[in-house]
């Protein structure tokens, strides 16, 4: 006698076989003690397993505790989201602070001309000092018209930077005005400290691309 395959017994137990197979198995079980034993064992085991459905939580307040945990979790999430936001904002602020002076350096607009600090101004290497008999606004206008970058301003002078062409143009314009003193370069060379002397020869050479100079107001 051919015994019923175990998987068929399992499917028979779960009642998922078609009517024909079911009938066949029923008939076989009625006359085969071995298959009957298997089926009874399966029945006993599944009955035992179903008893595990009685396993349950002993804690009465489990649901409320869970809700509390969820609320706590949400509060934590919000806190960490806020912290993350603050951290990112701080990083952005730090980046802005770090790169701000650089951006001001490249800004030639009138509003930003005096934003370079004293410490940076002191580090600038001047190529020359040009005494002019102009007021502050006129000197500033002159520099801006010639695309010079204003690096620093004070009541008595303006420090600016320009390329060779602009610098020549500025010099010519100052030359043309009454306020310009003749032989300015030699004047400065004589009157000023040796610190700047080394730069003067370069002023007449075309190899220098940029000049940093100070218009000394009177």
């Amino acid at each position: 006698m051919n015994h019923i395959p175990i998987y068929k017994l399992s499917e028979f137990y779960d009642d998922i076989l078609d009517a024909h197979d079911k009938e066949e198995i029923k008939e076989h079980l009625a006359q085969c003690p071995e298959c009957q034993k298997h089926f009874e064992q399966l029945h006993t085991m599944v009955n035992l397993l179903s008893c595990l459905q009685t396993i349950s939580l002993k804690r009465e307040s489990f649901a409320l505790d869970t809700i509390q945990k969820i609320k706590k979790h949400h509060a934590h999430k919000r806190y960490y989201a806020a912290m993350r936001g603050s951290f990112i904002a701080a990083i952005i602020l730090l980046a802005i602070i770090t790169f701000l002076p650089e951006s001001i350096k490249h800004d030639t607009s009138f509003e930003n001309i005096a934003k370079i600090g004293n410490s940076q101004h002191n580090q600038l290497k001047l190529d020359c000092i040009i005494p002019v008999a102009m007021d502050f606004n006129t000197a500033l206008l002159l520099l801006q018209q010639n695309n010079a970058r204003i690096l620093y301003t004070s009541n008595s002078y303006i420090v600016a930077e320009s390329d060779v062409d602009s610098f020549s143009s500025i010099r010519q314009m100052i030359n043309g005005s009454d306020s310009y003193r003749k032989n300015i370069l030699s004047d400065v060379a004589v009157n000023h400290t040796n610190k700047y002397n080394k730069h003067y020869p370069q002023l007449t050479h075309a190899n220098k691309k940029k000049y940093i100079f100070r218009l000394q107001l009177r």
Binding site: Q41, L48, L49, C51, L52, I55, F62, T66, K69, I70
Partner: protein, 187 residues
């Protein structure tokens, strides 16, 4: 227990009524706990893990597309959570001989119900131990089928298996458990 359906409760929770989730927890806490308990076999740990499953469920409730029953979806969350938990704690040694376990579930005295089986607390412990020793895939499927009484289709959805695969695993799982229980003299 609330008279609202799962979907009604979910709508309320999504609308912002967090307390409606209490009813969902009450409805499914034992089912999820049973599943987790048979995996970790430790009451306190199973409690914490069950809570975590509900926290995750609450968080992802908006993503529930209602293509399956809520209980099926919840169970699949529990299954995935347990898999991840096991991966994270793979070095942890689970003791299946927890002295406290004996007090953690109640065995109905079926003799009073005139059933054929005289089930003792000891036999339940043996059954739990042997169930715990089964490979995860087979244990999960036996829990769903023979403890929770879920249909083949629901099991396939919860475990993301084909129907044919479910049939094979149920049969193999039962075979494995049967031979283990035979050796222990339980059946």
């Amino acid at each position: 227990m609330s008279e609202y359906s799962d979907n009604e409760l979910i709508d309320r929770v999504i609308a912002g009524d967090t307390d409606a989730f209490t009813d969902i927890v009450k409805r499914y806490q034992n089912k999820i706990f049973r599943y987790i308990y048979t995996r970790v076999y430790n009451y306190d740990e199973a409690c914490d893990m069950t809570q975590d499953v509900f926290v995750i469920t609450m968080e992802s409730l908006k993503t529930f597309r209602r293509e399956s029953q809520f209980s099926t979806w919840l169970f699949s969350i529990a299954v995935n959570y347990c898999k991840n938990y096991r991966r994270k704690n793979r070095h942890k040694i689970y003791s299946i001989y927890n002295a406290d376990n004996e007090m953690e579930f109640q065995i109905p005295d079926l003799r009073q119900n005139q059933e054929e089986l005289a089930i003792t607390n000891e036999s339940m412990q043996i059954l739990l131990e042997e169930l715990h020793k089964l490979p995860d895939d087979y244990r999960d499927i036996l829990i769903l089928r023979d403890i929770e009484g879920e249909s083949y289709t629901t099991i396939a959805q919860a475990l993301q298996l084909t129907l044919a695969n479910v049939k094979v695993r149920i049969h193999r799982g039962r075979e494995m458990l049967k031979s283990r229980l035979e050796k222990r003299g339980l059946i």
